[in-house]
């Protein structure tokens, strides 16, 4: 459990909040590059950490992320005309460039220079790995561009999707490090999903429903090692990575692409679940890409024209009670992403952590909260939070079989960091 003040502290990310400050100190995925496919294309509304912004791309191809509303009388610039190196408000014609600077106020004499006095708040927006990233913190603390491996491998080796999750970011992220739910909630998928099935590790997973966990602090956050019995007295370890504040990476299976998530607050009651899949040494196959586009693995299908999942709370996630009873899926909801989302959204927009009864196997979640709270305290004293340094971002999850006495953190040292040109360690 958490006390109410602690729960508030970790779940609120609007301007001026401590947790909001931590998110704002690192680059966050804002939208997919494909949402702004060409110069002068229609702008896109983006809400992040409770700030309403507008993403757009000008005539020269400059990306812009600006205040959504016109400085004149507050019209949403989503209705704006994207023309000749700027976005023009359709109400009275005020025009802004990609930095948010007002460059034309038609009602005022040009010579007066009035427009120079008007500037919309704007944030940098940079493409990397098919994702447009933004940094919303103080300019003097802006770190170098993100180095997460999925975003820096060649474009044909990685696939990223995002979906709307109608819950606070923290309960979504906690699902990403809650290793003990996999053998239950997702048990139906391990051997059926085209992006999971056929790995030796799955047999260990299913053969040994009660893994033993080892939670180990890492420089950027924590490793969560799930240990199961393998042959000859060896252990099969699946090591998940969590990097503060909101990056999680699931251990690989066989030669399947490796995947993970970012859980980015939209406001305190909604978040973006970003899901990436990549391989280091080979392009994703036709077959894999088709499966990802169809919403398999950790991806999902959509309500057409939106990023809201096709299975959502308005249709009870298309729960199939007969399938639940038959055991086709453990919960009756289809698909890994929606199995998680349905349950996490069912907790309510911000789960009341004063009522929970955590047990020993929840130490991954307990440690993640402890690290976040500790990092917030240190940040108040001027320290840079974990997750911003390049070394923290160059991390990997791993699946390895090790002799019984070896600490996985030591034995899998190389497997847990980026090795240029080498695949993930996987079973």
């Amino acid at each position: 459990m958490l006390r109410k003040e602690q729960n508030d502290l970790l779940t609120q990310t609007g301007p001026g909040t401590p947790m909001g400050k931590m998110f704002r100190l690192s680059w966050q995925p804002a939208l997919l590059a494909s949402e702004l496919p060409e110069n002068e294309c229609p702008p896109v509304r983006v809400k992040l950490m409770s700030e309403r912004l507008l993403a757009w791309r000008d005539t020269q191809g400059n990306y812009a992320l600006t205040d959504e509303f016109c400085a004149h009388r507050g019209v949403s610039l989503w209705f704006g005309r994207n023309e000749e190196n700027g976005l023009r408000c359709p109400y009275h014609g005020w025009k802004y460039d990609h930095t948010g600077q007002c460059i034309e106020v038609p009602s005022e004499p040009t010579e007066s220079g009035f427009c120079k006095k008007i500037k919309l708040k704007s944030y940098p927006l940079v493409e990397r790995g098919g994702v447009l990233w933004t940094y919303m913190g103080p300019p003097e603390m802006q770190p170098p561009l993100p180095e997460w491996e999925f975003a820096v491998v060649p474009a044909d080796r990685s696939f990223t999707s995002k979906r709307l999750q109608e819950s606070n970011w923290l309960q979504a992220m906690e699902g990403g490090i809650d290793s003990s739910h996999v053998s239950f909630l997702h048990s139906g998928e391990l051997n059926k999903d085209p992006l999971f099935k056929g790995s030796k590790g799955n047999q260990y997973n299913m053969g040994d429903m009660k893994p033993v966990f080892e939670v180990v602090e890492s420089p950027g956050g924590l490793y969560i090692g799930a240990r199961r019995n393998a042959e000859h007295g060896h252990y099969y370890w699946r090591v998940t990575q969590y990097v503060l504040p909101a990056f999680t990476m699931i251990p690989p299976r066989a030669d399947h692409p490796v995947h993970g998530h970012f859980w980015v607050p939209i406001d305190d009651e909604n978040c973006w679940a970003w899901s990436f899949d990549y391989k280091v040494t080979r392009p994703l196959s036709e077959h894999e890409l088709t499966a990802m586009h169809e919403g398999k693995g950790i991806h999902n299908e959509y309500v057409p024209g939106t990023f809201r999942p096709r299975q959502n709370k308005d249709n009870d996630y298309l729960i199939d009670r007969a399938a639940q009873k038959r055991g086709d899926t453990f919960s009756g909801v289809y698909g890994i992403a929606m199995q998680d989302a349905s349950l996490q959204e069912s907790m309510g927009p911000v789960v009341d952590r004063t009522k929970e009864n955590l047990v020993s196997t929840d130490n991954g979640i307990i440690m993640a909260r402890h690290r976040l709270l500790r990092a917030l305290k240190a940040m108040e004293k001027g320290e840079i939070p974990p997750g911003i340094a390049r070394e923290h971002q160059q991390c990997r999850s791993a699946a390895v079989v090790l002799p019984p006495d070896q600490p996985f953190k030591e034995a899998a040292k190389e497997a847990l960091v980026v090795q240029a040109g080498k695949e993930h360690a996987t079973v």
Partner: protein, 168 residues
């Protein structure tokens, strides 16, 4: 019409989650395995807890010497001998605290008692970040066979955070 899930997962409906307690206090026994962790455990023992109690096994080795009884393999923080098996029997969770680099040898005897009584065990290793991997693996190798959940933490405060999170 709005679906059941849509209506019920709203903020407005969240207010109606009933406020009745949904659990009873758990008995957690926290046992220091060595002198450095005994210092941490002593500090914790002075704070207010629901049903956590604190012990030390730092003076004991990995097996009773001739004439020593297995039952007395534990002492409270004032140095009074306690019956290990009885204490374990009354526990919902046993937390063993060890400092990285220490031998944690009492873990086997405590672990054995827990496995006899089917009690959940958690091992906490403190100071893992500043110790060499070799020192850490020494502690790990004693704790791993007996801890169903193992945590390697860098900050002492983790012990308190974890116990509070578990409502101890």
């Amino acid at each position: 019409m709005q679906s059941e899930s849509a209506r019920m997962s709203s903020a407005a409906e969240a207010r109606y989650r009933i406020d009745a307690p949904n659990s009873q206090p758990r008995a957690v026994k926290v046992i220091a395995l060595d002198a450095p962790s005994e210092r941490v455990v002593k500090m914790l023992a002075e704070r207010k807890w629901s049903r956590a109690t604190f012990f030390t096994a730092s003076a004991f080795g990995d097996a009773p010497k001739a004439g020593e009884s297995f039952a007395g393999w534990l002492s409270d923080l004032a140095g009074r001998t306690k019956n290990l098996v009885e204490e374990v029997d009354a526990a919902d969770l046993v937390v063993m605290v060890a400092a990285a680099g220490e031998s944690a040898q009492a873990a086997s005897i405590i672990g054995e008692a827990c496995s006899l009584k089917r009690v959940m065990t958690t091992g906490l290793i403190l100071g893992g970040a500043d110790k060499s991997d070799e020192a850490l693996s020494k502690t790990l190798s004693h704790l791993r066979p007996w801890a169903l959940m193992l945590v390697v933490a860098s900050a002492e405060e983790y012990v308190e955070d974890m116990l509070r999170a578990l409502r101890a």
